[in-house]
């Protein structure tokens, strides 16, 4: 029996929820292609319960994954009345994401070695003064440079008139209406993209929970069509709002 002490790992050591999941899978010697969702969800939540030192923004990322795990678990338990791809395992999106992330992590390890080797070979950032051809202070510019330079110029000018950006308050009701309106206009929303365009963490979180509510109220439905982990949210056709 493990006591709760063993879960007291600083979540900051993990790069994110996927990193934590990979750690659990390895620790429990689980086959990544056949993840026991119920037990891994339990383990995962234990870690969240015993978390220390984590800022809210990071925490929300771990919570989103918890929600996804629970969602998958429920889909595996309940008979699905709508199945887009007949045989699709609800765990598949998670497995794809984990494998992809695992590859990235392995690649990072190789790249880190290359970086360490390369960083020891010093290059010059400018020419020595002996090569005395004037005006060598030239650079190749990127689009980012163009934009950064301009907004810095403006900032220099606006120094004295700092704008106070006030966070808006969002009610759940308002946000739900927002989502429905968006869905009526765009037919569906891309789950990830939608959240990444929210202004603040608070707004993302509220939107997320609104979406969960809308799903449970059977107003909208979340689906994946392909292996490409895109989660789409659609308005249910039979609902009239």
């Amino acid at each position: 029996m493990e006591n709760s002490q063993s879960y007291q790992i600083n979540l900051e050591v993990f790069q994110g929820p996927l990193d934590l999941l990979l750690f659990l899978i390895k620790k429990k010697e689980i086959d990544i292609h056949n993840i026991p969702i119920a037990s891994i969800t339990r383990e995962y939540l234990k870690y969240l319960d015993h978390k220390k030192n984590i800022n809210l923004e990071r925490e929300s990322e771990f919570l989103l994954m918890a929600a996804l795990l629970i969602h998958i678990k429920s889909r595996m338990l309940l008979p699905r009345e709508i199945s887009l791809d007949e045989e699709e395992d609800p765990r598949q999106i998670l497995v794809d994401r984990l494998l992809d992330y695992k590859n990235i992590k392995a690649a990072c390890k190789i790249l880190r070695e290359k970086e360490e080797k390369q960083i020891k070979k010093w290059k010059r950032k400018e020419l020595p003064k002996s090569v005395s051809f004037q005006e060598l202070d030239f650079m190749e510019v990127s689009l980012f440079d163009v934009a950064e330079v301009f907004f810095n110029l403006i900032k220099r000018q606006e120094k004295d008139q700092i704008k106070v950006i006030k966070g808006r308050d969002f009610s759940v009701k308002e946000k739900k209406q927002d989502i429905i309106r968006y869905l009526k206009e765009h037919s569906f929303l891309d789950f990830i993209e939608y959240f990444s365009h929210q202004e603040t963490l608070e707004e993302s979180l509220i939107s997320f929970f609104c979406l969960l509510e809308l799903i449970s109220e059977r107003i909208v439905i979340a689906v994946q069509k392909s292996l490409f982990h895109r989660i789409e949210v659609w308005l249910r056709k039979e609902v009239n709002i």
Binding site: Q15, G16, P17, L18, D19, L22, F23, K26, E57, R58, E61, M65, R97, D100, Y101, K102, N103, I104, K105, A106, A107, C108, K109, I110, L111, R112, K114, E115, E116, K117, Q118, I119, K120, K121, W122, K123, R124, K125, E126, L127, V131, E140, S142, L143, F144, A147, H186, D190, I192, E193, S196, H197, H229
Partner: protein, 181 residues
């Protein structure tokens, strides 16, 4: 004459801050036949590879660049002490390799793949010119599209994007039992 050409190329590589491609060399030295330039370049590289020296010509990012040999890192570091040469943070490196393998890509995609918000890593990577903005995606919200740069290749000592760790290399790492988490 040939010896001369070798020296000219050496001088050109020396005054280039970025890796100098052989195409560019041929372009500048357009009075010399390509074949001669190639031979002289080969000779020059041979000259540097042969004897152990304090400086060397590297082949990176499709071109040639002078750099110090890695054995003397300790002393150079001591000399340029105010210059901070930090390695990338773990987050920044993860974001960077996600972009490298999935490019062209957007912030939303990067964040989705990593499972965490990657926006704050972009600054470091853009400032170090390891990635660049190459336009906007034609999809709702028109997000900015990112790609790795030539400097990215040079930073890791890669000659081209095909030199990124291959599937086989990655699998080898994954098989390793001592993989840390």
């Amino acid at each position: 004459m040939k010896k001369n050409l070798k020296n000219i190329i050496e001088a050109l590589i020396f005054v280039s801050i970025e890796p100098l491609t052989s195409d560019k060399i041929k372009n500048i030295l357009d009075e010399f036949p390509d074949k001669e330039i190639e031979n002289a370049l080969k000779e020059l590289l041979h000259h540097y590879s042969g004897n152990q020296r304090g400086i060397n010509i590297q082949k990176v990012s499709g071109g040639y660049l002078f750099a110090t040999t890695k054995e003397y890192d300790e002393y150079v570091k001591r000399f340029l002490k105010d210059e901070k040469k930090q390695k990338l943070s773990r987050e920044a490196l993860e974001t960077l390799s996600t972009i490298a393998y999935h490019q062209p890509t957007t912030l939303a995609e990067i964040s989705a793949i990593r499972g965490v918000d990657a926006s704050h890593c972009l600054k470091t990577l853009l400032e170090k010119k390891l990635i660049k903005i190459v336009g906007r995606k034609k999809s709702p919200g028109k997000p900015l599209i990112y790609r790795t740069t030539k400097n990215f290749l040079a930073y890791f000592g890669l000659n081209s994007i095909e030199d990124l760790p291959s599937k086989e290399e990655i699998e080898k790492i994954l098989e390793d039992k001592y993989e840390d988490s």
